[in-house]
């Protein structure tokens, strides 16, 4: 199956590794928001993939129908997604707490169906291809190739991780968020407003999801069901990384992306799809708190 010759072999492995890093960062963009929302609110957001899809749809219409450039579209979509996160929290999630776990699942599953079918009704199921100047441009180094759109998604993913990390560990707001995640009542006793912190966590989480959608609109076909394929993998990733641990989710996502790509270079593609869930089961059996879980969330 592998090509002959040492230099060709090296190019083959390097291309698989490069693809894997990009896929991993794409997974991380989606999984970090999911992990943050779970960490602070103890809510599994089944509608997370739909916000990613809406972000991609918005980016598509902004660039193709309304003539915006790629970067302004990314900014607008992220800002809209953050606002949508605030609305989502105030309208739906604010009334839920950790003890309403079943209600939160039903609520977010229902929201997911409404958003997905609403998108089918409004935008039809026709796959849309965002064709900007960068859609068909490639960076070529020797035998290695990386589409420019993937390079941008990689950059946005790394920037989002850095910004989120700095927010969580270098700001008072981040400290408050970690405080609420660790002990909501104790945080309240020391003067932190859990409601405001939770609202911010949902806004950032949905904002990251919207950003992922905008970043990936030039990479993948945009259609109402595009969130589905990523969201279940994102669930596996946040369990592997340690539930509620944002950094753990990001690292697990990149590890999974590389693993999938390397294995996909040798085994049938259908087996690659099972890797995330096999890894999740193995982690649950051997280290139930996750690879990077320390019993402390966010």
């Amino acid at each position: 199956m592998r090509p002959r010759g040492r230099s060709v072999d090296l190019n083959f492995y390097a291309q698989l590794l490069l693809n894997g890093i990009v896929i991993g960062v794409i997974y991380a963009l989606i999984a970090m928001g999911l992990s943050l929302i779970f960490g602070v609110l103890e809510i599994v957001n089944f509608a997370h993939g739909e916000f990613y899809m809406l972000g991609a749809m918005c980016a598509y219409f902004l660039t193709v129908n309304w003539g915006f450039g790629y970067w302004p579209a990314v900014l607008i979509v992220t800002a809209v997604a953050i606002s949508l996160g605030c609305v989502l929290y105030e309208a739906l999630l604010g009334s839920l707490r950790g003890e309403s776990f079943e209600r939160s699942i039903l609520l977010t599953l229902g929201l997911s169906m409404v958003l997905q079918n609403g998108a089918v009704f409004l935008f039809t199921t026709t796959p849309k291809m965002m064709a900007t100047g960068l859609s068909y441009s490639n960076i070529i180094v020797g035998e290695l190739r990386l589409p420019l759109s993937r390079l941008y998604a990689l950059g946005l993913g790394l920037a989002a991780f850095a910004a989120l990390y700095l927010t969580l560990y270098r700001t008072r707001v981040g400290k408050a968020m970690r405080g609420v995640a660790q002990n909501r009542d104790a945080a309240l006793m020391v003067g932190i407003d859990p409601r405001a912190v939770s609202r911010l966590a949902v806004a950032i989480g949905i904002g990251l999801s919207g950003l992922a959608g905008a970043a990936l609109a030039p990479v993948y076909a945009v259609h109402p069901l595009m969130g589905f394929s990523f969201v279940f993998k994102a669930f596996a990733i946040i369990i592997i990384g340690g539930l509620g641990n944002v950094s753990g989710a990001a690292i697990a996502a990149v590890m999974l992306g590389i693993l999938e790509s390397l294995v996909g270079g040798f085994l049938p593609l259908v087996m690659v799809d099972a890797l995330a869930f096999i890894s999740m089961i193995a982690v649950l059996l051997l280290r139930p708190q996750g690879l990077f879980g320390r019993g402390v969330r966010v």
Partner: protein, 381 residues
């Protein structure tokens, strides 16, 4: 007194029954349809619905069938066999449908076939292409299933015959969706190549809805095949084509490539030059009936028809023709009428069902040359 009451009740019952019978004979003839209206191939389901509804509207404008209006009820199957079985079971239990139309996905059509056989209702397949549907129909066992579109095996045999003549049938890799459609493509190609002492050098399948194909495409590129046979539709097709371009695949495609859906930037770049494809239809086929169909479809839905819309349009027309000839629109009479079909396709050929209840229309072989799609031949399937 008692006798009088009994007489009145009996008269009322007879009157009600007579009204019911009269309604059954004068009400609409209803066709049941199960197709993906949501899910990964809902875009194709939408075109299947449009094509079928256009045929029904045209028939009703000409007086319907047997003096009655024709209606078609669509239910969603999400391209999922379980959903297909559920929707058709429900339709069959209502006992008001003269025939069942399609399923669109091969896996769904295959799951529906035993149900309609037990219920004794004709099932007419427009889009599902798996060869096994025809193999199990007519003399193959299921007398109630009729398939209008060509099988994968027959189309691929036509394509591979052409490739072989051009000396291009060697070193072909295969990538297809892990469904009956993709599996039929793989086995159809294997069979057609085997007849010419060739075989597929690599076979891989993917789950429908996969977004990232870079691992498998990198593997295929490194294997350096002469052609890549691609069996993907809808968003999967768009993602594969874009990622193949991004990786600089450098290998033309073949198989059932949806040449009309290749992004125009990729097409114009010449990246896919040398690609060959076989399909049962293309809107550019130059016959008066096809031109009329394309015009009517585009006017009604603001988009040009595609393969799926054509197949549904033609299949419903064949079904309506059989209903008109059946005399009473009963399922058994429609089945017998379908078996004796002689119908002129809008592509210009005369269609009839063979012993496997399969129609043999022409397949069109396409090539991409200089960044443009050209028809290079038509071949009987």
């Amino acid at each position: 007194m008692f006798n009088m009451r009994l007489t009145v009740a009996a008269a009322a019952f007879v009157a009600l029954a007579a009204t019911g019978i009269a309604q059954a004979q004068t009400g609409s003839i209803i066709i049941g349809a199960s197709t993906p209206l949501t899910g990964g191939v809902a875009h194709f389901g939408q075109h299947a619905r449009w094509g079928a509804e256009l045929a029904v509207a045209e028939a009703n404008a000409k007086g319907g069938a047997l003096g009655r209006k024709i209606e078609i009820d669509f239910q969603d199957n999400r391209c999922n066999p379980a959903e297909g079985v559920k929707s058709v079971t429900q339709m069959l239990s209502e006992k008001k449908y003269a025939a069942i139309f399609d399923g669109l996905c091969s896996s769904v059509a295959l799951a529906i076939m035993p149900l309609i056989e037990r219920a004794g209702v004709p099932f007419i397949v427009a889009n599902a292409s798996a060869t096994s549907i025809a193999e199990r129909s007519g003399v193959g066992g299921n007398k109630w299933t009729f398939k209008v579109n060509p099988t994968d095996a027959s189309m691929l045999d036509a394509l591979v015959g052409w490739l072989d003549k051009e000396g291009k049938a060697a070193n072909i890799a295969f990538l297809g969706e892990d469904t009956d459609f993709g599996r039929a493509g793989s086995s159809g190609l294997e069979a057609a190549l085997k007849k010419r002492n060739q075989k597929l050098v690599m076979v891989d399948f993917f789950q429908k809805g996969t977004a990232d194909f870079t691992p498998v495409l990198t593997k295929i590129k490194a294997r350096k095949p002469a052609l890549l046979a691609l069996y993907a539709i809808d968003a999967d097709f768009q993602n594969t084509i874009r990622q193949w371009h991004g990786l600089g695949g450098g290998v033309p495609l073949t198989g059932r490539v949806l040449v009309d859906q290749v992004p125009k930037e990729i097409m114009a770049s010449g990246f896919l030059d040398g690609t060959t494809s076989v399909q049962p239809y293309d809107p550019s086929v130059d016959t008066p009936a096809n031109k009329t169909f394309v015009e009517a479809f585009t006017k009604k839905y603001n988009v040009a028809p595609m393969l799926i819309s054509f197949e549904s349009y033609e299949t419903i027309n064949i079904l309506i023709d059989a209903i008109r000839r059946s005399g009473n629109a009963s399922p058994a009479a429609i089945r017998d009428a379908l078996a004796t079909t002689k119908y002129r396709s809008i592509l210009g050929t005369e269609l009839e069902f063979d012993a496997n209840n399969l129609v043999h229309n022409n397949a069109i072989i396409f090539a991409i040359k200089g960044g443009k799609v050209v028809i290079i031949g038509m071949s009987k399937t």
